[in-house]
């Protein structure tokens, strides 16, 4: 009898773990989608007329997912956000751009997070910068020209500012959320 009880306890723990992760993942994706949709209404292009310029608000969510739940969840959130975001506008070309930018940025963030010299701010700045590098690379491949790269220096300078801003937001949110067990569950607070 006690064997069965023990098994149930184990199974129940496993189910709770999966459920919590699933719910958290869904919340993060919804948040990222809402942010990337909202930022389209902010006319940053009128201020700085460069193609592909944006605040990168959705990167806050990727950052939070990476710090609270690790690369796997962050990757899932990123890919699903990009795919679902393309339904709301952007289409297939938009999907190609956001995926190449997002995946490169994600890879850089996962790697730099491991280095002790970088805090959330450094990780966020490099993530924002490499998002632009990825997008320009995609544009170069799509348009078969190296001239698109002439936009990159300007985009990188903007990325310094936006990366710092998303870093500020991310650090603020992480300070609060890392104290809530449900958000860091089942990972230990690192």
């Amino acid at each position: 009898m006690w064997v069965r009880t023990a098994m149930w306890t184990l199974l129940w723990g496993e189910i709770m773990k999966k459920t919590t992760q699933l719910a958290l993942c869904a919340i993060l994706i919804a948040l990222a989608l809402a942010l990337s949709y909202t930022e389209r209404m902010i006319p940053l292009q009128l201020l700085i007329p460069l193609p592909g310029i944006k605040l990168g608000l959705a990167n806050i969510v990727t950052l939070i997912a990476l710090y609270l739940q690790g690369p796997k969840t962050a990757f899932t959130v990123l890919v699903l956000r990009c795919i679902m975001g393309s339904f709301f506008g952007g289409g297939l070309t938009g999907l190609a751009f956001s995926l190449t930018g997002g995946l490169l940025s994600m890879t850089v963030m996962v790697l730099t997070k491991r280095l002790p010299c970088f805090s959330v701010y450094g990780v966020s700045i490099l993530g924002a910068a490499f998002h632009n590098v990825g997008q320009i690379a995609a544009a170069m491949a799509l348009m078969q020209t190296v001239y698109v790269a002439s936009y990159l220096p300007y985009l990188l300078m903007v990325a310094l500012l936006t990366g710092f801003a998303t870093g500020c937001a991310g650090a603020g949110i992480l300070r609060v959320l890392s104290a809530v067990p449900a958000f860091t569950f089942p990972k230990a607070n690192r």
Partner: protein, 123 residues
């Protein structure tokens, strides 16, 4: 979790600036190559070449409609039906090596030297 801005983060800032400068330098307008012509590319194909000193208009009807205007030795995309119209907001260009792109329409307007050749290669 490291949530405070620390000294090492300046390395990230420095890296981004160095990368920006490295990409910026090859695209500096070189005085050797006088701007001579405007090339209009769409989807990786050279559609047309214009001399910069002759005013005119060129219209592309692909996924979207782009109106390219050449006036007073400068070129711009003056009208576009693409979403956002970043290309129109990019304004006028006149130096060799500069270009305006319309990503949704895969259009590129590029200023080349008098001989029409690329005078540097990147990468």
């Amino acid at each position: 979790m490291r949530l405070k801005f620390q000294k090492g983060d300046w390395i990230a800032v420095g890296l981004v600036i160095v990368l920006a400068v490295c990409v910026f330098l090859p695209f500096l307008p070189s005085s050797a190559a006088q701007p001579g012509a405007v090339e209009i590319w769409q989807n990786g194909v050279l559609l047309d070449t214009f001399p910069l000193d002759r005013d005119g208009e060129y219209i592309i009807d692909a996924s979207f409609r782009n109106v390219i205007t050449v006036r007073d030795g400068q070129a711009a995309i003056t009208e576009s039906t693409c979403p956002g119209a970043d290309c129109v907001h990019s304004g006028w260009i006149r130096h060799t090596g500069r270009s305006i792109v319309c990503l949704p329409n895969r259009t590129e307007v590029r200023i080349v030297g008098t001989d029409g050749d690329v005078d540097f290669v990147v990468g």
